[in-house]
Amino acid sequence: MERVDPLTAPAAPAATARDWSEPIAFAVMVAVLVIAPFFVYPLFLMQALCFALFACAFNLLIGYVGLLSFGHALYFGWASYLAAHAAKVWGFPPELAILTGAATAAGLGLVAGALAIRRQGIYFAMITLALAQMMFFFALQAKFTGGEDGIQAVPRGKLFGFIDLGNQMTMYAVVVVIFLAGFLFIHRVIHSPFGEVLKAIRENEARAVSLGYKTDRYKLVAFVLSATLAGVAGATKAIAFQIASLTDVHWTMSGEVVLMTLVGGLGTVFGPVVGAFVIIAMQNYLNVLEQWVTVIQGVIFVFCVLLFRRGIIGEIAHALRIRL
């Protein structure tokens, strides 16, 4: 049996000449996002895009540093709570509400990350999960989160004071811009010298240490970046869908983002986006099978881990011998 392990082995051969596959794929993605709202419900697209950004943020850790965070719902969910609270109770405009959410996620990511990077591998996953569960209980008990009801009827407001987000297409355009900005930022990070060090840590942490890199600092910065972007995704979702609820901080949400990334392809640039669209489409269009969704997700997990470890984009990239 071929030993396919994108977690520890680079997914694609290093590009030698100027590689046009990534820019072309990016152009295709932008084109699809421009045309899509005329054919598909904008609400579905917005939901998928928020999760796509969430999955990209998660993939920054697992795909490029080799750290499996099993508690990313913490940043996604708490950012959505704070953004919703800021917009509804404090009357913040949407851009400041989203920033509030992102700042919350960054702060939480700094604390949780500093604790979690004190252990490696499997323990790292368990620590992030446990910390997220702790904050789930806080969300359950805190007054401002509204308990089981969540924060409902969050106003979308006016972006920069004059762009009315009440219009569905305007809101969609804003979500697309936020998603693309996040996507390009992650792309920039992983192709920077900083990103190269991250990959070195993934391949062989001991060697990176012996070369003089303070790997803990690199891991922590990557963790905070990932948490912050997950927060941007959660805050945007709270504004676009006008609700923040317990679902978004629950461990099942942490599991879902892992699933999206796994389906699309760990450590690929476009994989998490495709994975998010596949999983969200499955949840929306297979609602006949509503009560079976968890079971189906479980089956996909088992299938991907056993037979499909490269994921959709990883397999395509492997077949075409390109980087995606």
């Binding site: 977690l7 252990r119 499997i122 996953a125 599991g255 892992v258 969704v293 997990f301 088992v302 881990v305």
Partner: protein, 295 residues
């Protein structure tokens, strides 16, 4: 009746006992996780689901076959352990040469499947399970009332933990196990069937989870999600204790249960989160865990 720090003794010892009970389950489950991790290098995310399977097996045995608690205590771990052996042969054995994280992801998927299926057929509300006839009632100890069944759970799980420790640390079979954990290739060269040992170890660990499930059935209701929240707490217990030592897992499990019980008395709002807070503190002071060796 007397008071300690303004808390009636009845309430204090009552919560302490509840803490010991929870601690019994933490100890049994983290023991199983540690045994499995030692041999398979896999964190068994399905452990909570398998604990739930144990409780449901006991429920089915009573409901449809008419076999009571004592039979279930023997049969349920064997049946669920056998399903564990099937899982190891069908899925886990293909992952040993890959990154550890794939084992976590696969068993997480299995947990979703098992819990999802049970939720579809049995809903989210709990099903009651009859306490065994012989253990109803309780003793009045003067300072508190001790229900017989709860005393039985604490004593029996402590006995199971000690037996497991004895088998692994003090017998020939255990020495094979420990040797195979350190260096499987070498142990194989001595003619010991290591893959079979791995399979049986997983079956045993899963059986322990099922045993805990049967014991939990009369105390908590039998419900599909009884294991999922519990397993996350057990993960925190494992992080605190470190998985390097069997005794460490047991002591940490019981100890944290007691601490949780005390928190319920003095600061009830924090009782859900106290174990996670302790985990954070331990990570700050002793990153390798209380009984762990620095890797």
């Amino acid at each position: 009746m007397f008071e300690i720090f303004g808390v009636p003794s009845q309430a204090l010892f009552g919560q302490l006992l509840l803490g010991l009970i929870n601690g019994s389950f933490y100890a049994l489950l983290s023991l199983g996780l540690a045994v499995i991790f030692g041999m398979l290098n896999i964190i068994n995310f399905a452990h909570g689901a398998q604990y739930m399977l144990g409780a449901f097996t006991a429920f089915f045995l009573l409901q449809y076959v008419g076999l009571g608690y004592w039979t279930a205590l023997v049969i349920a771990p064997i049946v669920v352990g056998l399903t564990g052996i099937v899982i190891e042969r069908a899925f886990l054995q293909w992952l040993y040469r890959l990154d550890h994280l794939y084992g976590l992801l696969l068993t997480f998927g299995l947990a979703l499947i098992i819990e999802g299926v049970f939720r579809n057929y049995f809903g989210s509300s709990g099903l009651p399970y009859q306490m065994p006839e012989a253990l109803t009632g309780g003793q009045n100890l003067g300072f508190m009332f001790l229900p017989n069944y709860r005393a039985w759970v604490v004593v029996f799980s402590a006995a199971v933990c000690l037996t497991t420790w004895f088998v692994i640390e003090r017998t020939k079979l255990g020495s094979y196990l420990r040797a195979a954990t350190e260096n499987p290739t070498l142990v194989r060269a001595f003619g010991i069937n290591v893959p079979r040992m791995i399979t049986l170890t997983y079956g045993f660990g899963v059986g322990l989870a099922a045993l805990a499930g049967v014991m939990a059935a009369p105390i908590y209701n039998v419900s599909p999600q009884m294991g999922s929240d519990l397993i996350i707490v057990v993960f925190a217990v494992v992080v605190i204790g470190g998985m390097g030592s069997i005794m460490g897992a047991v002591v940490t499990g019981f100890g944290l249960g007691v601490v949780e019980g005390l928190t319920k008395v003095f600061f009830p709002e924090a009782s859900n989160t106290v174990i996670f807070v302790i985990m954070a503190i331990v990570l700050l002071i002793r990153p390798a865990g209380l009984f762990g060796r620095r890797a």
